[in-house]
């Protein structure tokens, strides 16, 4: 028996030493080109234009001794782009330009240009859900410009445009817009996808320095893009953005300004919204569909430009009622646009019906949901509280008598 055991031992040693003959899959860290972001555009001749933002590690962290001296010059990122018929095709073309192996595990952001997105994106994003190195946590972002332009920003302050975009999405939207979420929304019944939209804009909004915009652009969050299936329909921005922010139940940057009517002295009060939640509850009564939306928002007053006396609880409840009105003004047109103009159920009313009435959904609602959604009555309810007024009760600059209760 001992002989056999020894034999197995030797077999083990031999098979292990077999491993020495080659390291098939090993690549040194300095042999990989770490891709941090990808931009997808439609080129003029109808092909796909893909740009890869590859980081240059030595320029990012320059504190390492040894490579310190040389790294003071040069860009932190390298931008490579190529045209082709599909992602893998372009991948190979870009690889041919690089001495290092393209590495996609640290891909953080995929930016899609408007033109391409309008034709549908699920085909082009398939590579990123299928390929070994990429993962579903990558964020998807839309831009009205050419997607590559988002990478050509000022990198003095933020060295990686990809990180900049990713952080801003979370800061403004409060949630991530990952590939997983995007595909879930596309494929799931009764819900459509919405994706944050970014544009380049000037750091300083002073109109005097005209060339500022070209030299030092920044990536700015502008709104959200609305999808139907995998095709871009349009954007919710500017005016509707407030509604988007409020409705989405976000966010860290949520803030709302409430104008005070003239008879109460005019001016405005501004609140920060640290917490809010949106709850959709569908109802079917006598074959009539209806949806109740309850939005619970907590506000904290941080600015008071009116003459209201914030030490009075009656005043606070008055502001709360104004708060509701303002919310209504923001959200009503938003829902109207979504329902009527886009007719794209980005907030998942359909999915809510599916969860609550699965049989009914499968039997009839599913087939003509678009039409139903267009005319779905939505009741908005607000649970509004103002919990803090900052460090002050009465504003300092106003005399006691001038205060309005």
């Amino acid at each position: 028996m001992k002989g056999v055991k020894k034999g197995v031992c030797w077999l083990l040693i031999c098979s292990l030493s077999l491993c020495l003959t080659g390291c098939w899959d090993s690549t040194e860290i300095n042999g990989i080109a770490i891709v941090s972001a990808v931009a997808l555009d439609k080129s003029d001749d109808g092909q796909i234009l893909m740009s890869m933002l590859i980081t240059n590690p030595g320029k990012i962290s320059s504190t390492v001794s040894g490579s310190e001296q040389k790294s003071s010059t040069g860009q932190a990122t390298i931008l490579l782009s190529e045209k082709g018929t599909g992602v893998l095709d372009i991948y190979q073309k870009i690889q041919a330009k690089l001495p290092k192996v393209i590495y996609l595990s640290h891909l953080r952001v995929i930016v899609i240009g408007q033109d391409l997105a309008k034709e549908g994106v699920s085909g082009i994003l398939d590579f990123f859900t299928r390929y070994r190195e990429s993962h579903l946590r990558t964020e998807v972002v839309i831009t009205k410009d050419k997607a590559v332009d988002l990478f050509k920003i000022n990198t003095e302050y933020e060295k990686l445009p990809s990180e900049s975009i990713r952080k801003k999405t979370q800061l403004v939207l409060g949630s991530k817009s990952t590939l997983l979420k995007f595909f879930n929304n596309i494929t799931e019944e009764g819900i459509e996808a919405q994706v944050p939209e970014f544009e380049t804009g000037p750091f300083e909004s002073d109109s005097d320095s005209k060339d500022n915009e070209k030299q030092n652009p920044a990536v700015v969050f502008k709104g959200t893009a609305v999808f139907k299936n995998d095709k871009l329909l349009g954007f919710l921005d500017d005016q509707k953005l407030k509604g988007v922010v409020n409705f989405n139940g976000s966010t860290k940057l949520g803030c709302i300004t409430i104008p005070i009517p003239k008879e109460k002295g005019g001016g405005f009060v501004s609140l920060r919204i640290p917490e809010s939640s949106t709850n959709i509850s569908p109802m079917i009564q006598n074959d009539k569909l209806e949806a109740d939306v309850t939005i619970k928002i907590e506000g904290r007053i941080f600015e008071n430009e009116s003459k209201l006396d914030l030490s009075d609880s009656k005043v606070i409840s008055y502001i709360e009622s104004l708060f509701k009105d303002t919310l209504n003004q923001n959200i009503k047109p938003l829902l109207n646009t979504v329902q009527k103009d886009f007719n794209s159920d980005i907030y998942g009313f359909g999915a809510a019906f599916h969860r609550k009435y699965p049989e009914k959904w499968n039997a009839e609602l599913k087939t003509h949901w678009d039409e139903t959604f267009r005319n779905l009555p939505i009741n908005l309810n607000y649970g509004v509280t103002i919990s803090y007024v900052g460090f002050l009760t009465k504003s300092l600059g106003i005399e006691e008598k001038a205060l309005i209760k």
């Binding site: 055991k5 197995v8 083990l12 098979s15 292990l16 491993c19 098939w24 070994r132 997983l180 699965p358």
Partner: protein, 369 residues
């Protein structure tokens, strides 16, 4: 005589049953109701294992391959008994094939398959040369480690904020037919039916009285473990991805992201799958060689280890031309043609024979007294 303790039996049973099924997401064809199919499968699985346990109790000290000759007589029983070691070899080849594909797709795309196979099988053979005791002890060590890692994964998923409870509703959306399709035959054969293999090991357990209790608790534990993993996968990935992905649990672990620091843990999950597959294959090969020893009545099973391991490696490398072919065989051909007859029909026949004999004995006794 080698002996294993009840705790070791418990941990080996759990590791075996969790085995390779976990990689593919248990009954992922049922979509977001996979966890319901899983619970039903576990229920039926416990009954199935109880049947095996009853057969074991009624023939004390005999292993699986000795049951048939003992009840059906030598000429009918022996050929039937021979089918089991052969099936176990084939199953071991399948498990290795699963692992080979998984590793190639995920962590080592360029490494030749035979290197992966030889490395893994050499370790398994090395373990088996030390005897089943060795395998059992390692199982005893790995069990708490696995549970600990599982808990860590659960905590990390929760902390990552990627769970969406809306993903799991509505329940039984596509009807019970869809749920049951995943239960029969795949759900109950691949994990719980295969547990008939432990009939080779039960006679080696030290405390005979505890076998039933430990095996049933282990079966329930592994069932619940698989279910909970299914539930997490559905909550995070949602139905579409869960049922379309080849390796949903791998993707599930990949979604973990805690404060930009803990991310891409997918390679770790591969290592976890490797350990469970290690035990599954190890037990398959052990049952096969031990069964062959019992059938051929030779002195030691260790002489069979090398040839059987080589056969397993050969099977794993040549069984299927592509991942899809491999999957298709596992989902459509195997369950009906091999697993159902060997895991259900034959034991059921055996049960009937044993029951009739019992009744006769009782009658005779009554007649005498």
């Amino acid at each position: 005589m080698e002996r294993i303790s009840s705790y070791q039996l418990f941990s080996m049973t759990v590791l075996f049953q969790v085995g390779t099924t976990i990689i593919f997401g248990f009954s992922s064809s049922a979509g977001r109701d996979a966890w319901i199919s899983c619970l039903i499968s576990t229920g039926i699985g416990v009954l199935t294992v109880s049947l095996y346990l009853f057969l074991m109790k009624s023939q004390p000290g005999l292993t699986l391959v000795e049951w048939f000759p003992a009840q059906f007589g030598r000429w009918i029983g022996t050929p039937i008994a021979w089918m089991y070691p052969l099936l176990f070899i084939y199953d071991a080849g399948r498990a290795m094939g699963d692992i080979k594909d998984l590793i190639s797709v995920t962590i080592l795309p360029l490494t030749p398959h035979f290197v992966i196979m030889i490395a893994l099988l050499a370790v398994i053979a090395y373990a088996l040369y030390g005897g089943i005791e060795n395998l059992a002890r390692i199982g005893g060590i790995w069990m708490p480690i696995m549970l600990f890692l599982y808990l860590i994964v659960v905590v990390l998923i929760a902390v990552s904020g990627i769970i969406d409870f809306r993903n799991i509703q509505p329940f039984v959306d596509k009807g019970w037919g869809n749920v049951m399709k995943a239960v029969w035959p795949l759900g109950i054969t691949q994990t719980f039916g295969e547990s008939i293999e432990f009939a080779m090991i039960w006679p080696l357990v030290k405390e005979e009285k505890k076998i039933v209790k430990y095996t049933l608790v282990a079966t329930m534990t592994s069932g619940l473990l698989i279910c909970s993993i299914d539930i997490f996968a559905i909550l995070v990935l949602s139905e579409k991805y869960f049922s379309n992905s080849l390796y949903p649990i791998y993707t599930l672990v990949q979604q973990i992201e805690v404060s930009d620091f803990i991310e891409n843990l997918d390679s770790i999950s591969v290592i976890l799958f490797l350990t469970t597959a290690f035990f599954k294959t190890g037990l398959h090969i052990f049952s096969a060689v031990y069964g062959m020893q019992k059938l051929l009545k030779t002195k030691s099973y260790k002489t069979f280890i090398l040839p059987v391991t080589a056969a397993v490696a050969f099977l794993a490398l040549t069984m299927a031309r592509s991942v899809l072919e491999h999957f298709e065989a596992g989902l459509k051909i195997l369950p009906y043609n091999l697993w159902v007859p060997l895991f259900y029909i034959l034991p059921a026949l055996l049960f009937i024979v044993v029951a009739i004999k019992r009744l006769k004995q009782v009658k005779q006794k009554n007649a005498h007294s």
